[in-house]
């Protein structure tokens, strides 16, 4: 039921223009709803404290000794994400038609109804996972 409602909402949002008041209102309402949900669902249910979480990645040597494959995989992820961020910043700084930014690419992908609806559905799924996913049971 919830999945069907999210799919219908995404399809409806896909038909909106980025300058329209309806698009602004629906995106802001979605953000507000998921932020409230994250707070309401999460009191006392985090897997780790902030201190433990922040210190977690620091001991790379221990991680490498315990799980070398996983550590290398995380390093590959970091390199790929930094490559995307770096190239996007480079393209943005040059402001050239030969150097499209990530925004331009996503703008192209979301220029159609189906494309915007699909990207919105992915964005909504990610937001819902971040707001309510991976909580400790009460």
């Amino acid at each position: 039921m919830l999945v069907a409602a999210a799919a219908a909402f995404s399809w409806w949002e896909g038909g909106l223009h980025q300058d329209s008041a309806a698009a602004h209102t629906s995106v802001l309402a979605t953000i507000a709803a998921l932020l409230v949900t994250a707070v309401a669902a999460g009191v006392g249910r985090q897997a780790a404290t902030v201190g433990v979480w922040v210190r977690g990645p620091v001991s790379v040597r221990r991680h490498f000794a315990e799980a070398p494959e996983a550590t290398v995989a995380v390093i590959v992820w970091i390199v790929l994400v930094l490559a995307a961020i770096g190239w996007d910043l480079n393209s943005f700084a040059h402001q050239s038609h030969d150097l499209p930014t990530l925004s331009w690419i996503f703008g192209h992908a979301t220029s159609s109804h189906a494309g915007r609806a699909a990207v919105f559905a992915l964005w909504l799924t990610l937001g819902a996972a971040l707001a309510i996913g991976w909580r400790r049971p009460r």
Binding site: V27, L28, A38, W77, D98, P100, S103, G107, G127, G133
Partner: protein, 64 residues
């Protein structure tokens, strides 16, 4: 195709390939593990939600 777009295709292909490889292996953290890592603490969850909200506003309300 512009040179800049070529670089994006390269980065996108590498990301896609690594997503597939890490998803097929039980020992390698995939994209879901990456999101789950941010959701472990309040700070990580808040940072990720802020980035998510900013990206959504930019993509769906300000698209250049």
């Amino acid at each position: 195709m512009t040179p800049g777009l070529g670089v994006w295709i390269g980065i996108g292909t590498a990301l896609l390939a690594w997503t597939v490889v890490s998803s097929l292996s039980a020992n390698l953290p995939g994209p879901i593990a990456l999101v789950r890592w941010f959701a472990q603490s309040w700070l990580g969850r808040a940072l990720a939600l802020c980035a998510w909200a900013g990206a959504g506003w930019h993509l769906f309300c300000q698209r250049p």
